[in-house]
Symmetry: C2
DNA sequence: CGCGTCTTTGAGGGTACTCAATCGAGGTGG
DNA sequence: CCACCTCGATTGAGTACCCTCAAAGACGCG
């Protein structure tokens, strides 16, 4: 992917799933002109929490994790971004510094779009700005649900829920394993618990034949039951 | 407050702190025509989680709590809305049902504005729509911070943080007590813990002379130290 | 093959939850 | 005016969940 060539936004196959669906010729041209794309390897940072937000990013390929660094340096994963998702727009628009860090989970191709282009689009394109609001509102809904879950559910319930969510969000590969490579620690940072707790719970799920484990890879065997657990029955 | 008369939006003293700051004459007129205001007593519901969102609300007076109902009926308080805040817009824009319930904490005067007026404003007024996006983005930032806190901090740290937040958000009355009347249970639902845990922690804070308690009323005596605790030093 | 990183397992302990009982204040009705 | 009732606040006891620390095992990479 190293020497990957930029695709013109106008012809980008992802535009239907992003906000950039119905721009004018001119807007496409400007967007394309302003953008700055590059590949990132696993472990690379796209932006850091606290940095000044000079623009936002559109993920064309790969998986990115968004996390906040809490006390004693522990990461709390807030969300993942994949093909077609935009990240960092939140901080650009609210004119704050980035409120989370974006780090690459699997090799990614990401386009950077400077802040003023975003503001310009919001100003001139109603459709775009409505979609953007809706995007933010959906994320807000998800975040609120997450707060309730973390506050009220047990680790067991949350882990089950996370597995279901990952399954829906990233699907499975040809072997039936979840299509996202996470370390145990990352899983823990997503669930909001200690690494060891995740490990213990995973082996419990395994012994109940709800999942199959092969190193870092996870296969969901009984989605229904996991669903039940996550809703605590 | 029972027979309170509606104020014209255009002359509403709160408009500077809300999104409705720079509307055209016509927009003010339409907003004013469409709205529907009423008073609510403590305990009244403004809207319920899961209901169809036919519009949003602007709080003119009083305090409203927003919460999600989690497992076994336990409330998780997501936010408060006071004078000048708008609520429910999230669900209107993302065209979902209300994702939380709004219930009155202290007597409130609230204006309802139907969905199509909101969509119309977003469509025709760039300034309004930018402010709305920024509002959503700020809320999103807060929510993400909250997730990290709940996942990583202890009850003691979270309670200290909540007290500081309430102090900043609602201030104190002439006696020096926090200007928001919350039951112990509501505090617990905000912190994300059991009622008894909040009570125990409050008396611990009291014995350390960080706060003073008088029935339901709380006075912060040592903000600095509470701040320290919330950041775990 | 050796090293580092990640994973796993075990032991021990602390935080915070649940359950239960008591206390206290405010409101109601006799 | 007081007994009564109800709801919220408080306190205590017991325990479950989950965290931390420590050590050993597995895996991948140079």
């Amino acid at each position: 992917m190293k020497h990957r060539k930029n695709i013109e936004c106008k012809y980008c196959t992802l535009k239907t799933s992003t906000l950039f669906e119905q721009l004018t010729e001119e807007e496409y041209a400007l967007l394309n002109y302003d953008k700055n794309c590059q590949t990132y390897k696993r472990g690379d940072f796209i932006f850091h929490e606290g940095n000044h937000a000079t623009g936002f990013y559109c993920v064309n390929e790969g998986i990115v994790k968004m996390f906040k660094t809490g006390t004693e340096g522990r990461e709390q994963i807030i969300a993942f971004a994949k093909k077609g998702d935009i990240i960092g727009y939140r901080s650009v628009l609210s004119k704050e510094t980035f409120c989370s860090t974006a780090k690459v989970i699997s090799e990614a191709f990401v386009c950077f779009i400077p802040a003023q282009r975003l503001f310009k689009l919001v100003e001139t394109n109603h459709d775009f700005s409505l979609k953007l609001i809706q995007q933010a509102c959906r994320e807000l809904g998800t975040a609120n649900k997450y707060i309730t879950d973390i506050a009220q559910k047990t680790v067991r319930e949350r882990l089950a829920e996370v597995l279901i969510t990952l399954l829906e969000q990233f699907g499975i590969n040809e072997d039936g394993y979840l299509n996202i490579p996470l370390t145990r620690e990352e899983l823990a940072n997503l669930v909001g618990t200690a690494t060891e707790s995740v490990i213990r719970m995973l082996s419990q799920f395994k012994s109940q034949e709800l999942i199959e484990l092969k190193g870092r890879k996870i296969k969901v065997l009984n989605e229904k039951e996991l669903q039940m657990i996550s809703e605590q029955f």
